[in-house]
């Protein structure tokens, strides 16, 4: 009965393939080629310079500074976000221990979930601009509160010692809710009797979380780790809109370096593409690393 299937295959596959090939595949392939040239943008002139861009990159202090910031984000953001996500998801799903033999959620779970998740549907631009105002030294929400308590009012985003951490905090803030919902859904799939048995044995909340919940959620935690790691290597919109990498490059990230190199005051397309290639390899290695080190036996309950 398969005669006549080729007209359908061709009509259904060729237009998407063309679109994908022109706007996704070919740019990615061209990027590698452009990264080996000294192309300065709007002129057509470009010489092949081999690996010279990558050698320059190796000695480029600004790029290293940006990579260092991304590395700090990579070390801090996933740990904090997953930690808070697991904590709140546990509270929501089994915070109310009713009697000895019951595990229930706390009152108002649906409400908490709704509030927590909301930043996830907002545009990152809105989040960045809103928090820029929250951190505003004079009329910001944060310093307004600090002043009310008679505490000193720092300049937050204007201070090279704090600017980066302020941006990082917003990154965690905007992501936690998503992982509360994600972990919550995974926890709901864990059979209740496991918890009831553990509780009858007198395990504390902390032991339950560490010995039962996290091992059973391991697959989900691993996925969360990969996504957060990729997000930590980006951070472009938050940084560009909140601090534009400043003050004095203290909150710079690699994505912003690449964007500024290509579309900022200069248009060094060749060099920017080289930074892009480095970003690709960083992202891929982080993903592979997370998959490798996190591999455990999959647990399935019947």
């Amino acid at each position: 009965m398969r005669h006549g299937k080729y007209p359908l295959i061709i009509t259904f596959l060729v237009p998407p393939l063309l679109l994908y090939g022109i706007f996704v595949l070919s740019p990615y392939l061209q990027a590698f080629q452009i990264s080996t040239t000294n192309w300065l943008g709007y002129s057509a002139h470009a010489d092949s310079v081999g690996m010279a861009n990558f050698r320059t990159l190796w000695h480029d202090g600004q790029v290293w500074n940006a990579i260092k910031n991304n590395a700090v984000m990579l070390a801090v953001v996933p740990v904090l976000t997953i930690g808070l996500g697991l904590f709140f998801a546990t509270m929501l799903n089994m915070g109310g221990r009713k009697g000895r033999a019951g595990v229930t959620g706390v009152r108002g779970t649906a409400f908490y979930r709704m509030v927590y998740f909301f930043p996830q549907v907002l545009s990152v631009v809105i989040i960045a601009l809103l928090w820029r105002e929250v951190y505003h030294p004079n009329n910001g929400l944060l310093n307004g509160a600090l002043r009310a308590f008679g505490l000193p009012a720092p300049t937050w985003l204007g201070d090279p010692r704090t600017a980066f951490w302020c941006v990082l905090a917003v990154m965690v803030w905007s992501n936690v809710g998503f992982y509360v919902v994600l972990f919550g859904a995974a926890m709901a799939a864990i059979p209740r009797d496991i918890y009831e048995a553990v509780m009858l044995d007198g395990a504390s909340r902390w032991t339950t979380l560490r010995r039962i919940t996290v091992p059973l959620l391991w697959d989900t935690v691993q996925v969360a780790w990969i996504y957060l790691a990729i997000a930590a290597l980006d951070g472009f919109i938050l940084v560009q809109q909140m601090t534009n990498g400043g003050p004095n490059f203290s909150s710079d990230v690699i994505g912003l370096r690449m964007y500024e190199t290509a579309f900022g005051s200069e248009t060094k397309f060749g060099y920017a593409s080289a930074i892009g290639v480095v970003m690709l390899f960083l992202t891929l290695s982080v993903a592979v690393l997370a998959l490798r080190t996190g591999r455990r036996d999959r647990i399935e309950y019947l």
Partner: protein, 299 residues
């Protein structure tokens, strides 16, 4: 949520003293957990609430007392943001672009996914992985050549160009998700329809698409949000004087001009106007959005 029936089924009846002890521990634990939960809820909601309230304040009120309430409901701030700061126009731009790109994404994505899931042909695996591999790459790598490609095909600074690019970058995930979804659908109905003389095209539009509705809705929600909130692609592709910025770009531009003019209330009004529809859609479709987005990340 609150199920008192389960409390009474403790295996052995505890003594009164034990029960009191237990209740006290639970009470502490509940206050403890509720305290943290409330704290985070406040941390999440407070900045948004503050943005909403500040959109009604006068600039003087904003500057003098960040925690104060607005003295009046100054909707003129909203009107100013909508017209003078062109938020209304940007809204419309975003709407047109996303309407086009979402339609195109779903049409192309579902069609390609259906072929990958249900038809055998030579090279299917390679083409599929080529398609889905696009999910792995950071968009930054493609930015420079993409800018040139779009300009070279004559679509720089146009909605058509932006629509095509949005759809192209949404395809890998859409195809990946929908291929998995079509594979879960039973084959028997399709075979029966073919035996009854139903054509392949009719089979897709009349039988398979309706059956795939739940998956289509999930992936459509996912794509809608990511396309509506897209910033980097339009920032690169819609540059220059004659461009028609989308909402995210417009807000960023508003933040810059607000900085020069000191129009704080206008910025808050603009942000609020951009947030409210998303909030309305979110509250209405909360469950679908949460499952749609989390399923999107897990698959």
């Amino acid at each position: 949520m609150d199920r008192p029936a389960t409390t009474g089924v403790a295996k052995a009846e505890p003594t009164q003293a034990e029960q009191r002890q237990l209740r006290r521990e639970l009470g502490v634990a509940n206050v403890f957990s509720h305290g943290f939960l409330l704290l985070w809820a406040a941390l999440t909601a407070l900045p948004l609430l503050w943005m909403f309230l500040s959109s009604f304040k006068s600039d003087g009120e904003i500057l003098s007392d960040p925690w104060g309430l607005p003295g009046a409901l100054r909707f003129e701030n909203w009107a100013r943001a909508w017209t003078e700061a062109h938020i209304g126009q940007y809204f419309l731009n975003s709407g047109v672009v996303v309407a086009g790109s979402l339609t195109l994404t779903m049409l192309f994505g579902a069609a390609a996914a259906y072929v990958f899931a249900r038809y055998e042909f030579r090279g299917r695996q390679i083409v599929y992985y080529l398609f889905v591999g696009g999910m792995m790459f950071p968009v930054f790598l493609a930015l420079v050549p993409l800018f040139l490609v779009v300009r070279n095909v004559g679509l720089g600074n146009t909605w058509t160009g932006l629509i095509l690019v949005y759809a192209a970058y949404s395809l890998p995930f859409t195809v990946f998700f929908m291929t998995a979804f079509f594979r879960t659908l039973p084959t028997s109905i399709a075979e029966a329809a073919l035996i009854d003389g139903c054509g392949h095209f009719r089979l897709f539009f009349r039988v398979m698409l309706p059956m795939a509705r739940p998956g289509l809705i999930s992936v459509a929600i996912f794509n809608f949000l990511s396309q509506w909130n897209q910033f980097i692609l339009p920032q690169v592709l819609m540059q220059g004087e004659d461009s028609k910025p989308v909402l995210a770009q417009g807000l960023a531009a508003l933040a810059v001009s607000q900085g020069y003019q000191g129009d704080f209330s206008g910025l808050f009004a603009g942000l609020t106007i951009a947030t409210l529809p998303v909030l309305a859609v979110y509250v209405a479709f909360q469950r679908q959005i949460q499952t749609g987005l989390t399923a999107g990340q897990l698959k």
